[in-house]
């Protein structure tokens, strides 16, 4: 839970990277993602990771990305062990393990530099139905609220003598029930109230609602997008035609 929140939840930033059009940031992350899949040797992967670290530093989120990497390391150790058991090849196993880290970093770099508002904008460009986008928006919007709710309910139940940290696993899971039920009830009440408030503010009145903020693609956005595509093309080309894998 914690690594998720630190590695994927947006916090406001002012770097030039933050200010890019969200679609450009998505493009960069997708291209990095694909590159990690194309990579065949540890050296190539190291180069890709190095680039991601440099980019994180540029976006002033290096510390959070580093934390994500540290947490991912646990999973990748597991991936390494599993691969090693089956392939008995240290290099291949390392490659898979490191690739996992790279994939997580490329994804998290997008999420930690893109505000929910911008995510909504990205979804709009993909022409997702308004209801789907709105469901996503409210879900993300209410994450902190639900989080607070949970803490309050836990405190309330603890003060009534509920012992969360006691007993075996089954017992602990059962102890969660007094937390979950009020949480579910709260959410049901909340969705009812949300529905009323939506109706009262003309939700769904016109098929194509307008938007207060306009995301204009700037020259910088176009330049970064072009550079990313060209760099990706060159890297992919060199992987397969210029530098044979054996040399590296």
């Amino acid at each position: 839970m914690m690594w998720l929140s630190s590695g994927f939840i947006f916090r406001r930033g002012t770097s030039a990277y933050h200010r890019l059009d969200p679609r450009v940031k998505l493009l960069v992350s997708v291209l990095m993602f694909v590159t990690t899949l194309l990579v065949r040797t540890l050296y190539e992967l190291a180069a890709v990771l190095l680039f991601m670290i440099a980019l994180s530093a540029f976006a002033t989120v290096l510390r959070r990305v580093a934390r994500t990497m540290a947490f991912t390391a646990l999973f990748s150790a597991f991936i390494f062990a599993l691969n090693f058991v089956f392939t008995r090849n240290i290099e291949t196993s390392l490659l898979y393990a490191a690739r996992f880290v790279a994939i997580v970093v490329s994804t998290s770099l997008f999420f930690i530099t893109t505000s929910p508002d911008e995510l909504e904008q990205v979804m709009k460009t993909f022409r997702l139905p308004r209801d789907v986008i709105f469901a996503f928006v409210t879900a993300v919007r209410f994450i902190p609220v639900m989080f607070l709710d949970t803490i309050q309910i836990m405190d309330a139940q603890k003060s009534r003598g509920l012992e969360l940290e006691k007993g075996n696993l089954l017992r602990r899971v059962r102890n969660m029930i007094p937390i979950l039920i009020p949480l579910v009830v709260n959410s049901v009440v909340r969705s009812g109230e949300l529905a009323e408030a939506m109706e009262s503010r003309a939700y769904g009145a016109v098929p194509r609602p307008t938007s207060l903020v306009e995301y204009r693609t700037s020259l910088a956005d176009k330049a970064v997008a072009t550079a990313a595509v060209v760099a990706f093309a060159l890297v992919a080309y060199s992987f397969y035609f210029v530098i044979p894998a054996q040399i590296l």
Partner: protein
Amino acid sequence: MSNILEIEWLGFRYPDSPRKAISDFDLAVPEGEIVVLAGPSGCGKSTLLRAVNGLIPHMYSGEYTGSVRVGGTNVKESSMRDLAQKVGFLFQNPENQIFMFTVERDIAFGLENLGVPRPEMRARVDEAMRLLDIGELALRAPHELSDGQKQRVALAGVLAMEPRLVILDEPTSLLDPKTASELVGLVARLRKELGTTFVVVEHRLDLLVKVADRIVVMSDGRKALEGTPAEVLFGEDAESYGVSTPSITRLQKMLAKDGLVPQGELMTTAELATSLEGGRS
């Protein structure tokens, strides 16, 4: 002056409910008034507000009789889209009516839904933020706001749609006394600046008596009392309907009984003191 709200013989029963939540309800509200709706829990205040903005019958089905007119048009025959622009509804819990990630986007929510063009929307959102003095919160996320600020943001979202009638359901119940009295001051100011009509469901009469033109007391889905704050609060019946008279008014009532102060108008603590001193000298 014409009536912005006319309720005639309204009756409503929720489906699967044995009793009517509203019965034989009549009310006419002239444009520009502040009306307070009071009454014990479960007497149908929230239900009445739903019937005013059209959630009843458009979202809640049920047995519906009589009529509700807003600005001359029958609520039952209007669409939620039209009603949303006529009646603004501030719900009890501001948290559950803020949808977007930033304050300004949330204030724009209703206008976006109506397809208002961006420049006009920008102007209306800025104006709503100016009215509620929340300009510096424009880019904040909802979870970065205090309860009082959330309440203002929610109200701004309602006002941006420029309704002539705003209904508020226990708007101060989650606020501390100071923020609550600020909100009441805000309502009075908006009525003055915009001429908006307000119907406020409220238990804390002490805050509202000063600005209200009228108090309506409900009991069991019916209208029990109606009158100016002085008429209702000096009357004998208010307390029996569970309306808590402000303590200063109770004091004035007691003193007036002994002929120490006049009873005609509601007095503030200061006025009461002055009146007593005047009586003594």
